[in-house]
Subunit: 243 residues, 2 copies
DNA sequence: CACGGTGAAAAGTATATACATGTATGTATA
DNA sequence: TATACATACATGTATATACTTTTCACCGTG
């Protein structure tokens, strides 16, 4: 029977520490397989639920991998995935020390097209909010922002003054985002877009398509068009939080 | 008694969804206080441990704040930064079930231009590796990849066969990346690019500029050009790992 | 040898129960 | 009036138990 330290911290934390220490010192490093829950129960003298909680939290934190029916293993060092951060354009502009202004072209309630109903994953056709806003950086239009908003999650969207609060800020304030989908592509500007952004028809634009979820419900669908010559999405990122 | 959806997901997940939805729709938004565990037990007809697990996980994910003896509250909205994951193009193509092939156009050692010396943050001018590769998805060229590589970190870059190993894979294997910088923009294809990607001069392309660091040293500089009509960067992301 | 069944072992989920600990509030007493 | 105590209620932790789901190894049969 192994003794856990006699500190004030809760038992499952002690178990977590015990496991992390054993991983760190390589005691289980051989085939990278940990003792089973029941073995830990026997060797540590705590209940299975407590061991389970410790293992579950370490798994959520990325230290372990668990396979039902097989066992618990030390996770391989994190596979590299490089990330890009997409920020609130209003905040970005202000952060660069420039002036942000927006112009509301459309703010209305519409019946969604069949496509939109599908994108929203609606069971039936219900009215949604629709807004089109142009964002300016120092009086130069840089982004055309079209949004479709689920009224069941954000009820008063159509009554806001988006020349004062950015649409993004309002949405973030109103509903928690649990999931985000992004698609970035490059497209030539159509007549409408060109007019609003003050660029030539056919010139290159960045198109950022975004869907956000709150729980299982699609909250917003956005089409953000950036004048390619005036804007780029940038980020600097430390994969493993080394800072 | 409230009915939870009759899906396959475990009960605590349904409870989490139920709570997130109620937060999203603002049903509890008034004083931002949630029903107590015991109230949820009564209204949902599940055990307290199950409710507790749901609440604990949502708290860990940053949606809730809990105070012992007081109650559970909706957390203030986080400063949201949405992330896009940029993957290895070869792996992405294979994952879609398509065939990946690459053609090496250039693989050489060069003296860097003054601009590159600055980008690499070199103190003096030293030779670097330079490669240009076209990546094909089912024999359709989708990405033109130009890389400049720091030889002090990746010594044998110029001796590799990049029709077999993707440049990305080789680099990731050779040196740990501690930091990544990305800039995405939309540009018209120049003559050279158009020729390699088999598209018209002036048609829209996604340009992804990337620098990677190993410690304080710039390891690679890449210029990835995607045919705008054939490729888009996509991602789906859960801000706080709620899944 | 190939195939399928069967059971053991592992993690996953759900519940009932108990007690611990922290907070707010109301009440009795000095 | 002010302090101390009792109490109710909130979340936090720990256990015992039971059942489910998945995987794997073993074994017998064709």
């Amino acid at each position: 029977m192994i003794d856990l330290p006699d500190t004030a911290s809760p038992l499952y934390e002690k178990v977590k520490d015990y496991i992390l220490t054993n991983i760190g010192t390589g005691r289980w490093g051989k085939d990278r397989k940990l003792p089973s829950e029941n073995e830990l129960v026997a060797s540590l003298g705590v209940s299975r639920m407590t061991v389970h909680r410790a293992l579950r939290e370490l798994t959520a934190a990325g230290f372990l991998i668990r396979l039902q029916g097989v066992g618990t293993f030390i996770a391989p060092p994190r596979p590299q995935s490089t990330l890009i951060e997409i920020n609130n354009i209003a905040a970005e502009i202000v952060e660069r020390g420039n002036r942000h202004r927006s112009e509301v072209l459309v703010l209305e309630t519409i019946m969604p097209t069949k496509e939109l109903v599908l994108s929203f994953e609606f069971a039936k056709r219900v009215p949604i909010y629709h807004s089109v806003v142009v964002n300016f950086e120092n009086d130069l239009p840089v982004q055309l922002e079209e949004r479709f908003v689920n009224p069941s999650l954000i009820p008063d969207y159509d009554k806001q003054d988006f020349t004062r609060t950015a649409t993004y800020d309002y949405l973030m304030q109103k509903t928690p985002v649990t999931e985000v989908e992004h698609i970035i592509s490059a497209i030539p500007a159509d007549k409408e877009t060109a007019r609003h952004l003050g660029i030539d028809v056919g010139s290159c634009c960045l198109l950022l398509h975004r869907r956000t979820w709150t729980g299982a419900v699609v909250a917003t669908i956005s089409k953000l068009t950036y004048a390619g010559s005036r804007y780029s999405l940038g980020s600097r990122y430390s994969p493993s939080g080394t800072n």
